[in-house]
Symmetry: C2
Subunit: 683 residues, 2 copies
């Protein structure tokens, strides 16, 4: 199969199979949409050919008559006829095909058989197949509209590509991007993805010079590692902004739609982020992010500073409040900058950041330039109302040198026609123009996120090859011994086969100790009365051992100092493979699903950023005089654990819970290793 | 002072004081903006009068020459001259005034003196004063643009009113509302609010027949109870949608802007919600909410069901996913509805809800009608791409009877001009049209929130008059005895003055018990070693008493069964007065500020809704087989506590922490009552 998608997205010629003259039919809509394609074009209808009218009986006949290379076949025939039609097209020289119809895998056994047949023909012939169950694609700069939505033909060419799971979302995003003043380089709806997937298209876009930024919409992920690799490839050279559906359980409807199972929303988002994509929450945020990132990117920076110049205090306050909520730093401007601003602005205006100019005067461009070039400012946001007898904002922004070398986003508020005029001029100058405080805040967040993500040192494992996990069921003592080998601190402890050994252990360790049942088969020892804390005296020890019961092994362990409990786990995700999860201990954090996720293995530097994903991260930073988490130490612990899982095929998962943050650093208080089930297991 | 704002917002005549012919001056901009006002209009410039040109030397002269009633004076003179100008205007018969300039309270002592002088004149003369520090207001249906932003004169008249803390936000919101297809009834920026406040304008709008919904933007709240009363008044007759700034600490900049202290963001939002406002997070959500609520409101309903009909599965999935995230119920359609849909739609489409129609066919209107009238559906959301040769969506929506009697929001996607045309027709038919999945989800959330809030039974205290809190410092035993009087359960306990009494208490209660130091002056007894749990034997009791120390009183108390710990507190908010706060116990909930707030006193029914505000509420609903919170019992406990604070002027605050949820219901495990400080205290 060809990995080259040029026959699909940049064909020399196109043939519509099942073309129709009957308005309302798919074959008629496609023929009409493709009418403006400037390359070769042929229509085929086996049942009602009209060769004199350019409606041929077969692809071969069309090729013979037109003498053209018809790379792309657009199949407008029922599901049951698609496999045969594709085979015929391939035989006649087509190298790519689009199937829009439904009636395949999503509809039950009969449709599944049609899908299998179609997939087999594609694989056998090497034809790259987009669909089925999509409204198609469009490449405006080629005049190529392979979509049955007529308005798609009027989308202006530009530099944003859309890769959407759904044809409807492809169109919706493209229309939204255009409404925000952008143009489209390529827009694709994947549909069922029998052959061509999002990953294929991302690989294609990595080398597409026209595209400066990519919108990625995902509903399901058929091949996690492949998708991650493709996102990584694109994100290394241009921004990818991703929207993932499935925060709630929309599985039943989603399955009806694509015939595929929904994957884990949180894990998918984490994987995309780690691969370099900027992940957003809805399609508006996506449009705002792309309006900015398709024009300007910040240099990689762990914490870029935002400067804000506003002509109206109230909207400026809305932007500042949202930026603060998003954790974006708004540094106080340098004394020299404030000195410059004092010379440019009326007295009594606020000049520390935000800079409140009042009604823009002729100094506005110099105010913008001074703020943008402040040493603490990495990105400038500008807000102003258009006022005909005031400063021309687009001109001022250009005079201030805003653009790629002096990153900025500009909001021009006012009547729609005034805003559109200013926006067009700002965009022409390469300066992203947004439509209000919320959209500016979205753009700022996307740009800052993009800069921060690229400042995280990556590089695969980056870790010394770890020992692999010993095989078989490990009890807590063995699991902790293995943690020690990984360089993870555990409490002093003695595994005891008898009560006498337990008493000797208490004598050795001194009180207070924790006394636990030691049995790899008992997973919930706390719930079953197998854990006794704060045991100080031989009497208390006897009481604890009595409670645990006879004929068992015991673990006697020094009590750890108080601190903040974390949870750290590595497991195998069915879609993405080894992943690591970290969160705070306790049920509240769990109920809120406040967890940081990364693909494993990963470097210690990369893992060190995980705590900052947590909503409750304040608890790790000296909450009420408590201990502060050393991010580097945490990164080493996570990386060691994640690397160990990656090199241990016999281990299914591995959890340290709690991993306690103390004044002396991290210490693992309990550990569970779950061996992989035998391969023949049911799932 | 007149409470009637008609002279301000509907004057017979307007006079601009400090009018100027010099372009760029405020006095020129105002004169130009007011030029289109069809009522009487006069310009005054004391320094450069040109009576022949209609530029008079004084207001009295203008009145004499024009013979008109000049209700509204627009003052375009420097801050230092405003008080005198206002006095002159009042003497000449003006009953309302607008001051746009800055240079008053926000700029230091000199400006403060100008503000005081201006306020005194307003109070003495009874002139209602809007400003200073605002860009003004506009009333499009009267052709009245008292704003120095020229584009404001082009805002179409309509039925949404804007009441914004900031003049800039007033304009920004009005432009955004218009861009979304709405018109404006009145738009006001409060500015410094020396006289006219948001509460005044809300009271005015309650009786304004032109206004069907109100946008309320708040930065500070000068008088909490007055604002709450005004919001309640309006919300009883038309929707109020509120946006509150100050989630993050933007105080320094905010003070520079309005000269006022920022209030508590969470408490303000809670108070507004309780008064009936729909609270939103940003200005886009506000516009979406008003686009819907100004046209259609659901009947009060504790949990309205959402039906969704979509012509494109992918965007429908985005809407369904967001609705699920927002906690909105999407019921499966009734069998009869599904039967009807089967007859209208092609086989294999999803018909349970969402209803996935595929490309709209001539049955589309009947599909909409069938879904909208399903007994489980209280609100219908519709998504479709415009397609010229497909069904006309606006016509289908009307044919389906959508509108006030069959509530719906409709998204029409496509090219901007197609969307605008469809939207105009939908709006004309009273059907809210939105611009995409996120905006539809915002509109749905606002409508559902509005319906839910009105379904909560309110009615002030609604509680039997509670005993007031005993005065003075109360120790834990006395505090718990008082809780018992309020009908709140506490553990069995014995207050002990000696070790012997403590031993007798252990004997009486049986083990295990909690042993605590009993001293009203010790607030953090756990941290200071004053609490010992799980004490079973006389030896353990002696150890606990030794640890607490000699010469103290002790509380010996039965241990409560395990459960989920909550925190419940009542305190006095400096702006809103008595408030009640409830959250989950533990540091994670605290770090996340996951807390429900209500104004006190409140009824048990109203208080019963508080747990559902909590992000971690799943922990209260039988998390992992744990206990389930009885909302009615919780409501009674909260209402009793809140009512007690309201009738106890000597008490500053009162906290139960933890309030444990057990299998047997709620039980208060610790309680602290803080007496009010003497009135002369420093703060």
């Amino acid at each position: 199969m060809s990995t080259n998608l040029s026959p699909l997205f940049a064909p020399e010629g196109v043939v519509v199979i099942g073309a129709s003259r009957q308005s309302g039919k798919l074959g008629a809509a496609m023929a009409r949409s493709l009418a403006s394609f400037p390359g070769a074009r042929a229509l085929v209808n086996a049942r009602r050919p009209e060769p004199g009218e350019g409606l041929y009986a077969s692809v071969a006949e069309a090729v013979a008559h037109t003498g053209a290379r018809l790379d792309l076949a657009v199949l407008c025939v029922p599901a049951a006829g698609c496999a045969d039609a594709l085979a015929e097209a391939a035989a006649a020289g087509c190298r790519a095909a689009l199937v829009c119809a439904g009636g395949f895998g999503e509809t039950g056994p009969e449709g599944g058989a049609h899908a299998d047949a179609l997939r087999r023909v594609a694989h056998r012939t090497g034809v790259r197949l987009l669909g089925p169950n999509t409204s198609g694609f469009f490449a405006p700069h080629l005049g190529l509209t392979a979509s049955f939505v007529p308005a798609a033909g009027q989308l202006p060419a530009g530099d944003v590509a859309v890769v959407a799971a759904s044809g409807g979302v492809n169109h919706a995003l493209a229309f939204d991007l255009v409404a925000a003043g952008n143009g489209i380089s390529l827009g694709v709806g994947i549909g069922a993805g029998l052959d061509v997937t999002s990953a294929d298209i991302l690989e294609h876009l990595a080398g597409d010079g026209r595209t400066t930024a990519v919108a990625l919409h995902l509903e399901t992920v058929p091949d996690g590692p492949r998708l991650v690799e493709a996102v990584r490839l694109v994100a290394a050279v241009k921004p990818v902004v991703a929207l993932v559906v499935g925060r709630t359980d929309v599985g039943d409807f989603a399955r009806s739609h694509t015939g595929a199972l929904a994957t884990s929303w949180r894990t998918t988002r984490a994987a995309l982020r780690q691969a370099g994509a900027v992940v957003v929450d809805d399609e508006r945020e996506m449009v705002d992010a792309l309006t900015a990132l398709s024009r300007i990117q910040l240099r990689p920076h762990p914490d870029p500073g935002l400067g804000l110049v506003t002509a109206q205090a109230g909207p400026g306050l809305l932007i500042a409040d949202r930026a603060g909520t998003d954790g974006i730093r708004m540094p106080e401007l340098a004394d020299t900058t404030q000195g410059t601003l004092r010379g440019l602005l009326p007295p009594l205006t606020y000049q520390r950041n935000p800079v409140d100019t009042g009604r823009p005067a002729e100094t506005f461009a110099r105010v913008l330039a001074a703020t943008a070039t402040d040493p603490q400012v990495d990105l400038l946001a500008v807000y102003a109302l258009t006022e005909p007898d005031s400063v021309d904002l687009a001109t001022a922004a250009q005079d201030a040198g805003l653009g790629a070398d002096s990153p900025a986003v500009v909001v021009v508020a006012g009547l729609p026609e005034d805003v559109a005029e200013q926006r067009a001029r700002l965009h022409k100058a390469g300066i992203p123009a947004l439509t209000g405080p919320a959209s500016a805040a979205n753009a700022v967040r996307a740009m800052v996120t993009h800069a921060r993500q690229r400042a995280v040192p990556t590089g695969g494992a980056g870790q010394e090859p770890a020992a692999s996990v010993p095989s078989g069921q490990l009890d807590e003592d063995a699991a902790k011994t293995f943690l020690t080998e990984l360089g993870i601190r555990t409490p002093e402890r003695v595994a005891c086969a008898t009560r006498a050994e337990a008493h000797y252990a208490l004598h050795l360790l001194g009180g207070p100790v924790a006394v636990k049942v030691l049995d790899a088969a008992i997973l919930h020892k706390t719930e079953t009365g197998g854990v006794h804390l704060g045991v100080r005296t031989p009497d208390e020890l006897d009481a604890a051992l009595d409670a645990i019961g006879p004929d068992l092994r015991y673990l006697v362990e020094a009590m750890a100092p108080p601190g903040v409990d974390l949870m750290l786990g590595v497991r195998r995700d069915p879609v993405f493979g080894p992943v690591v999860l970290a969160g705070l201990g306790g049920t509240a954090a769990e109920a809120l699903a406040d967890v940081a996720i990364r693909l494993a293995p990963l470097s210690a530097d990369e893992a060190a950023t995980m705590p900052d994903d947590l909503a409750a991260r304040a608890l790790l930073d000296g909450w009420r005089g408590g201990p502060e988490l050393d991010r580097a130490e945490f990164g080493r612990v996570v990386s060691a654990l994640a690397t160990a899982l990656a090199v241990s095929p016999d281990t299914a998962e591995f959890e340290i819970n709690p991993l306690r943050l103390t004044a002396d650093g991290l210490i693992a208080l309990d550990a569970v290793i779950v061996p992989a089930a035998p391969p023949a297991q049911d799932h």
